[in-house]
């Protein structure tokens, strides 16, 4: 087919022409082939990321609008099968990851089609409803209009409570924008409303997108391929640094409902049918099926303590571990033979010490895989937790 036949090469041929992956095979000491040792490279990347993320206050209650560009540029097939399909798949993964990391936040979806911005879903906290709405309407046509999108989003984000952080994430495929007025005015309006706009471009770097991000304090990045796009969009899942004046601290009233046993039947508000289990609103005693949610009768935000606990690791982060340079001297006997967390040997074959890290607080040693797992997913140092 046409789209695969660039430069006279089939798609599968391009992988060989570009990468020549056979050249990076290596042999280990016993002559067996092993694949590229990505571990050290990956670890170096991870440590760079860690240094960048120092202890800054983060905005934990976020109201994020995702703007998806469905103009005709989104039907380009440089991202296989098409830009729109790649965007939709990654937005679905992003929505799940976002609610996993920010359970008290809300997302709204906006699309740009034929030069007009439309609200696809309202700001809400249930991942399934957003994903269902997104997958239902994937067609693209017409021009893109950044100004209309920003106007619409600012209008929505005006209505949210003052303690929330307002954010927009624009997934832009087009190279041009068709605006009815002066976009600079709209940008100033966003800046005044304290909306933080970030853009991820799929085509090329565009000045106006860069300008929007600079003015509002957001992040601008351009994806070079599908996996890079996935990486870029997932970067927006953890809470961004909070710009202090942007949100007013406030006490939010919330309810912590108890979970009823499975055999207690009552009519639920969300599906309007009789079901067992579920949660009871402590203020008005209405029944809801899942948390977190807002009680439809009295408007109380209902959460469970694990939802709040999901964000506590942002408030109590663990210190980065220090790298231990493997020195082949008499100090080698100080290094323990195995990783404290997973018991993996810290010695390479031949008794040479491999790369390891040390926790500055409990002085235990860990392998680099545990280092990555501990800081990216677990957020507990096993050494510090295992000693009083």
């Amino acid at each position: 087919e046409d789209e695969d036949d660039v430069d006279g090469l089939e798609a599968w041929e391009r992988a060989y022409a570009d990468e020549r992956s056979w050249e990076s095979l290596q042999e280990d000491e016993s002559g067996l082939l092993r694949s590229i040792d990505n571990k050290a490279l990956y670890h170096a990347q991870y440590r760079r990321r860690l240094r960048a993320a120092s202890r800054i206050q983060k905005g934990l209650i976020r109201y994020l609008c995702i703007v998806i560009d469905l103009s005709r540029a989104a039907s380009e097939t440089d991202f296989r099968p098409s830009r729109m399909a790649v965007v939709a798949k990654n937005v679905e993964a992003f929505i799940r990851e976002f609610f996993d990391q920010n359970p008290l936040s809300q997302i709204g979806l906006v699309t740009i089609k034929d030069g007009v911005a439309n609200c696809l879903t309202d700001l809400g906290g249930s991942p399934e409803s957003h994903i269902k709405a997104l997958m239902g309407k994937l067609e693209c046509s017409g021009d893109s209009s950044l100004q209309n999108a920003l106007d619409l989003v600012c209008g929505y984000l005006e209505q949210i409570p003052s303690y929330g952080h307002r954010e927009v994430l624009i997934l832009n495929s087009a190279l041009s924008t068709c605006d009815p007025g002066d976009i600079m005015e709209t940008i100033q309006k966003c800046k005044k409303s304290k909306v933080r706009c970030s853009v991820i471009g799929l085509s090329a770097e565009i000045f106006i997108c860069k300008h929007i991000c600079q003015e509002t304090g957001g992040l601008y990045s351009v994806a070079v391929d599908e996996s890079h796009f996935k990486e870029l969009i997932l970067e927006h899942a953890p809470p961004p640094p909070a710009i202090a004046e942007f949100a007013i601290a406030n006490l939010i009233k919330m309810g912590f409902p108890q979970r009823a046993a499975e055999n207690v039947i009552s009519i639920c508000l969300c599906h309007k049918e009789a079901r067992g289990g579920g949660y009871t609103c402590p203020r008005c005693k209405a029944r809801v099926c899942e948390l977190p949610t807002e009680c439809r009768i009295c408007g109380l935000t209902l959460v469970s303590s694990p939802h709040l606990a999901r964000s506590y690791h942002h408030l109590f982060p663990i210190a980065p571990f220090d790298e231990v340079t493997p020195v082949l001297s008499s100090s080698q006997h100080k290094l323990p033979k195995s990783c404290f967390g997973c018991q993996q040997s810290l010695l390479n074959p031949g008794n040479r010490p491999s790369l390891s890290v040390e926790c500055p607080r409990c002085k235990q040693f860990f392998c680099i895989d545990c280092d990555i797992y501990i800081h990216e997913s677990l957020h507990n140092c096993p050494g510090c937790e295992s000693f009083r």
Partner: protein, 296 residues
């Protein structure tokens, strides 16, 4: 970081990571002596190893002052021959457990105040999860991992944040956390752990029959659980505790900056120092360095 089905051995191969509570303050007051309990556990572990040739068992002891690995069925050192009466597993496990208990005792700095002498469950949970991640990395074929907590000590509220972090990480990796709780009153932490990760929480009524509870409820692999009627959770208490009085509340106020929970309206947040109703500044918002969060 979830394990894809195609990467596993046959459905019924398990990796069982057992977190064994070896807190001397709990065992000295327990109705079931530690030695009897260990004999139940050893019989159970041997029976799991017999179920499938490829099953693996790892035991981590949870002490009052430290945690450590005491048995790993896949390590070459654990092939020592048993004596006539005891199996290889018993010999290894008992030896390491004795060493562990002595070490734990030496590390005791001061007697615990009050009645709560909790063990370091967050430490052994974290170590178990690191080990399981290593198994996931080990190659294209590996057993189904799960965690079994044989625990009796009371919950230590200072470990709340660490235990919740471990629970969420286990949920993301799809590792169920089962609990067989042998203490006096239910453990809210372990109930939440089993609910969130899809494991089984059980508080046996007759401790003399511990082996029977263990082998019928916790012995089977994860795939077979779909066909069994295992004990269901009877109401998990998800209510929060307020940071000011530590009492359980069902309606409260949350600071929008640091998510601390209060039972009544305050002018200022005691955790992060934000003044409510005014834009907060960077200087006032340095969170507490120690994880002094409220308990559940």
């Amino acid at each position: 970081m979830a394990s894809a089905p195609s990467k596993l051995y046959a459905d019924d191969v398990s990796l069982l990571v057992v977190l064994l509570d070896a807190n001397p303050f709990f065992w000295s007051a327990s109705s079931l002596p530690f030695s009897k309990f260990i004999s139940h556990v050893i019989s159970f572990l041997n029976s799991v190893l017999l179920l499938n040739q490829l099953n693996q068992i790892v035991v981590i002891a949870t002490g009052h002052n430290c945690c450590d690995y005491v048995y790993d069925s896949s390590s070459p050192a654990s092939r020592s021959a048993g004596t006539g009466k005891l199996s290889a597993l018993s010999v290894d496990l008992l030896e390491k457990l004795e060493e562990f208990v002595c070490r734990d005792e030496k590390l005791l700095k001061k007697e615990p105040e009050g009645s709560i002498a909790s063990s370091l469950l967050s430490g052994s949970l974290s170590m178990a999860l690191c080990y399981i991640q290593r198994v996931f990395r080990s190659g294209p074929r590996h057993p189904h991992p799960r965690i079994l907590c044989l625990h009796g000590s009371q919950d230590g509220p200072e470990q709340y944040v660490a235990i919740m972090n471990a629970i969420f990480s286990a949920q993301r990796s799809m590792v169920p956390i089962d609990s067989c709780f042998i203490g006096a009153q239910n453990s809210a932490f372990l109930q939440q752990a089993s609910y969130i990760t899809g494991g089984v929480y059980l508080k046996p009524q007759l401790l003399e029959g511990t082996f029977q509870y263990l082998s019928t409820v916790f012995g089977t692999d994860l795939h077979s659980r779909g066909f069994l009627q295992l004990p269901k959770s009877v109401g998990v208490d998800f209510r929060a505790s307020c940071f000011c009085h530590k009492k359980t509340i069902d309606m409260g106020y949350i600071c929008s900056v640091c998510l601390s929970i209060f039972c009544k309206h305050h002018k200022k947040c005691s955790t992060c120092g934000s003044v409510f109703g005014q834009p907060h500044s960077e200087a006032a918002s340095e969170p507490n360095k120690k994880r002094k969060a409220g308990d559940t």
